[in-house]
Structure formats: C-alpha cells, structure tokens
C-alpha cells in the first residue's frame, strides 16, 4: 500500500507538482484513439491480414497467368486490386471494432467522460479509421505493385499512371477502402454490436450483390446497383452503360460511393448525440 498516513496534508493524489491538464478537444481525442487502436493486438492482426490479401491475391493471379492479351493500363491496374474485396472486409472489421468494442466493453463510459463532445469522439474515431484505411491502401498497393512489376512485365503489360482511366481506377479504389472504414465506424456507432456491424457489411459485400442481381425485379436490381462495391465498380468503369442496363454511370458511381461514407456517418452523429452512452 502506497498510502502512508501523513501528518501534514499531502496533495490528495500524491502529485509532487501540479498536474498539467489541457482542454479536451479533437486533436487530443485523436491521439487517445491512436493509443487505443495501437495497444490492441487485434488491430495489427487485421492490418497484417489486409496487407496480405492486398498483396497476395494479385501475386497469385499474376504468377499463374500465362497470357493476358493486350490489356489496357487501367485493366492492369485493376489486377493489382484483385484482393480488394477481402481488404474492404478486413478494413471494415477494423473500423467497426474501433467503435463497437467501446460499447461492448463499457469503455465508452470512460471515453465520453474524458471527451464530453460526442461529435468530437466520433470525428477522432473516424480519423483513426481513415488513417488506417489510407495506410493500408497506400502500403498495400505499393507493395503489390513492387512485387508484381516483374511478373507484369513478363506478361508484356504495364501500368501508365499518366493514363486518366488508370489514375481514376487507383483513386476510386483507394477511396473505397476509406469509405468502407467510415461506413464501418458509423455502423458500429449505430448498432453498438460487433456482430451486427460486421454482419451488415458482410451482407452488403457478399450476400446481397449475388441475390439482388438474379432477382427479376427492377427495384431489387437498382438496390444491388447502389451497394458500395457496385458503386465503386461503376465509378471506375471505362465503358458507358448499355442502353436499358440497370446501373450507375461513373459520375454517379462516385457520388453514391461517397454517400456510403457520408450518410451513415451523419446518422451515427445524430444517434450518438441522441442516445445515452
């Protein structure tokens, strides 16, 4: 026991000098969230899996491909994103856990006591999730490219960053990783349940697209066309839509993709402000 019963009244918390504490705001909340994220092993396991998928899938494809014909630069860039579906799921799990773990463990009470601004905490969490998504995107792509540069050259194809469609594919795909992180953070706040948030994303990614595409119903087809992955695909498409084909053009694809980050996040903010912690 460290509490010697002193005769003179000591500082209650035994602080030899005055404790310096600064106003709790966004910047410090971000720093706190960063410490929280990096002090959990699960964070790094998910990052490692995401990078492994990012690099591994295109490497397997390139190593086993014999002839890709005369592919455009944008299509070759697309090869580097063959692992994207897995990356998106893993980033979503990472983002969801950043928020749901707070509610499932009761840590949220500490978090919102330390930073009373609910929007401030949400912004800080979104920032950290976004930074992880960006980092995974950049490191993943750079590594996938570096590892496969030789293989692609052997197949007689190359990537030209000066090409508009190529650059568009790169930016939209990188953006989609960040969008999924935001979507997951927002779902985590809305549902406050890890299983709920992750299942929702899995459903949107893996279950609904297949189901909605085969249902012979226009509304269902449209719902399928505006799911986040479909919107991202539409945004990178180089060919215009065929007449009568249900789907988004590339401009709307980008708008809808961004909406998947913005709208759930706005909902999360409203919910977080309205509900008790």
């Amino acid at each position: 026991m460290t509490t010697a019963s002193a005769t003179t009244a000591p500082a209650p918390s035994a602080a030899a000098v005055e404790v310096i504490a600064h106003p709790a705001g966004y910047r410090r909340a971000v720093r706190s969230e960063w410490i929280k994220a990096r002090s959990l092993r699960s964070t790094w396991i998910l990052v490692a899996f995401a990078l492994a998928a990012f690099v591994g899938v295109p490497t397997l494809v390139v190593a086993n491909a014999s002839d890709v014909g005369s592919s455009s630069s944008a299509e070759v860039m697309g090869v580097l994103y063959f692992g994207l579906d897995f990356v998106l799921l893993l980033v979503a799990v990472l983002g969801a856990l950043l928020t749901t773990s707070e509610f499932t463990t009761g840590m949220a009470r500490n978090t919102f006591t330390a930073t009373p601004g609910r929007g401030t905490v949400l912004a800080a969490k979104a920032t950290i999730a976004g930074l992880f998504a960006l980092a995974i995107g950049i490191v993943g792509l750079a590594t996938a490219w570096a590892v496969n540069a030789g293989g692609l050259a052997d197949l007689g194809v190359s990537i030209d960053l000066g090409d508009t469609a190529t650059m568009r594919a790169l930016l939209v795909n990188q953006l989609s990783i960040v969008v999924f992180a935001m979507l997951a953070v927002a779902l985590g706040v809305l549902l406050r349940s890890s299983v709920g948030a992750i299942f929702t994303i899995v459903a949107m990614q893996l279950i609904l697209p297949g189901v909605l595409a085969i249902v012979p119903n226009t509304i269902a087809n449209w719902v399928g066309a505006v799911l986040p992955s479909a919107a991202a695909s539409a945004a990178v498409a180089t060919e215009p839509l065929a007449a009568g084909q249900i789907g988004l053009d590339s401009g709307w694809g980008l708008v809808v993709l961004l909406a998947w980050a913005v709208v759930p996040m706005a909902g999360a903010l409203v919910s977080l402000r309205a509900r008790d912690i």
Partner: protein, 331 residues
C-alpha cells in the same frame, strides 16, 4: 460542487430518478446511499453527461458536464470498474485516457503507483480481479488531480486492505478541500467514511443530512440488555424512566432513556443477572434499512423486519430466528 435540480430520468415507463434535488459540498465526504436499483448509478451517469436527464439539470462546478473544457481537472469518476477493454494493458488504458487531456506519462505512472498497480501495469486489464479493476478505475479518476472525485460503489470487490485504502483516500481528498461523492448500498461502509449522507430509494431522496443529524433523526440510540431476569429488570427500568422494547428474544430488550451505566446499577442493586449489556451499535444500519425498506423491490420473507439488502444478512436473520424457535421448544 455538484448540484442537481429537479433531476429526473425515465427509461420507457420506468422512472429511475424522480425529481431529485441535492448539492454535494466541497471539503466533506458525501455518501450516496440506497439499495441496488435505487437510482444511484443513473444519477451519477447524468452528472457525467452520459445519460441525458428526462427533465431537470445537474451541474459540475457550475457547468453542465458537456460544457466542461477540461473535465479531468474538474471531476474524476469511477463509474464501472469493468468498463475497460479487457485486452488492453492498464498502462495503455490510462495513457489513452490521459492523452485526451495532454496529461503526461509521468502522471500515469504516478497514479499507477498511488493505486498500487505498478507491478501489474503491463498486464491486460481483462485478467484483473474486481478489486484491481476498482483500483484501475480510481487511478483513471485521479489522473487530472480533480477538484471533485465521484466513485460508484468503490469498495465493491476490494479486500479489507483496499477498503481501508479507499476510506483513507476519500478522507485525504476531502481534507484537501475537494468534493468527495461516494455511492454505496452499505450503510456500514458510508458510516465509516462519510460526513454527509444522501439517501435515495426508488429514485427519490429520502434523507439529505450530515451523518450526525441523520443519526439523531433516524437512529434509535438504546442499550441492548440480555438477562434471564429480563421481565423483572424491565419493570425496574421503567420505574426509573427508561423505555423498554422487547426484542427478538424474550430475554433480550432494548432500553432508551437510561444509559448502560444506570441499567448496570439497577441490576446490581436488585441482584439481577445481566448476560449482556451494550450500546446499540447497529442502529444506523437499522435506520437505513427502515428508511429504505419500502423502497426495496425484493424483501425478505421475515415479517416485521426491515428488508435486508443482502443475501448474507437475510440468511443471518433467518438463522437467528430459527435458533430462537429451537430455544423456545427446548425450554
């Protein structure tokens, strides 16, 4: 200082806190007493802005919690000892909390030392005992060296050493002019720590007084007398102005109006046998239980007894009753 005005909280149709008004003063330890489910935790969560009041308001040092610029300087709270991510180490947890206020790692190590957690600081919080969790919660509450500390059931799960430590800490904080607000469902705990008590039951304030006033108002101060000659002694005591109440055993009575010294003298003068003569020391506990008896949702099935608030006590009462009956049959 914490000030609640007409504070209410409803969860659906259930009223957890019902138009509560109170002030927690600096420089004293205020005990917040009530049976489980009385509204203590809900009130504390509203103080911290975690739960929104249905009506009324509560301020911390004159401001609603959400408006505090540097909350950790104003108030440090232990709300839920289990409210820590189980796979994060205690030190990382505290560093993350400290980072929200730019509080240094040195201070983190100080509060770890102060709460006796230094040796286990790198261990995952999920492996902590309830007592260690309480200490971690208290460490977090002390990070900003706050003017108010508020602990919800702080001695829950602590070993006797830890209980004593929390009492001493609360005392020292109050002696330093800080506001100390502790909740407990145990009168005995608050009795030993608090200067002031606020009693809550079914969401309403039942008493708000200094411990001294509370004892004066609610505690029966009497002398417990056990004597095989109880009947004769009772007559003599009554003659001298004492008021005698029969207790659970025919040989045991409670006397008010005369002190133990007088009763001892009467017994000696008339050569009566005293088996037991003592000041009633559990009277405050009884007073608290009487006060909250109607407020408890789960009563023990012993008629005429205040509702016990713990299983342990309930079984103790039963045991005593059974023994009495056995004694009667035997005699």
């Amino acid at each position: 200082m914490i000030e609640a005005t007409n504070l209410s909280k409803k969860f659906g149709s259930t009223t957890a806190v019902d138009h509560v008004t109170f002030a927690v003063q600096p420089g004293v330890v205020t005990g917040f007493l009530g049976p489980n489910g009385a509204g203590k935790s809900t009130t504390m969560r509203m103080i911290l802005g975690l739960d929104r009041p249905t009506s009324g308001q509560v301020t911390v040092n004159g401001q609603p919690y959400a408006k505090l610029v540097t909350p950790f300087k104003e108030i440090g709270a232990l709300i839920d000892a289990k409210g820590v991510h189980p796979r994060r180490s205690a030190r990382s947890h505290l560093r993350a909390m400290a980072a929200t206020h730019g509080i240094s790692d040195r201070r983190v190590d100080e509060v770890l030392e102060l709460t006796g957690l230094t040796a286990v600081a790198k261990k995952k919080a999920g492996g902590y005992s309830l007592g260690m969790g309480q200490r971690l919660g208290i460490a977090g509450a002390l990070l900003g060296d706050p003017r108010i500390v508020m602990f919800d059931e702080p001695v829950n799960g602590l070993d006797p050493d830890g209980v004593l430590w929390v009492r001493q800490l609360a005392r020292r904080l109050a002696d330093n002019g800080r506001t100390v607000f502790l909740s407990s469902h145990l009168m005995s705990e608050v009795q030993q720590t608090a200067d002031h008590v606020i009693v809550i039951g079914r969401g309403r304030i039942l008493a708000d007084a200094s411990l001294h006033e509370f004892m004066g108002a609610y505690a029966r101060t009497g002398v417990i007398v056990t004597s095989p000659d109880a009947a004769r002694l009772a007559e003599l005591v009554t003659l001298e102005g004492g008021l005698v109440t029969q207790l659970d055993h025919r040989e045991r009575v409670s006397v008010t109006g005369l002190d133990a010294r007088d009763i001892g003298r009467i017994a000696r003068d008339h050569s009566l046998w005293l088996a037991e003569l003592r000041d009633e020391s559990t009277s405050l506990e009884d007073a608290y239980m009487r006060l909250t008896a109607d407020q408890t949702d789960y009563r023990a099935g012993v008629p005429g007894r205040p509702a016990p608030h713990s299983r342990r006590q309930r079984s103790d009462h039963r045991i005593r009753h059974d023994r009495t009956r056995a004694f009667r049959r035997g005699g």
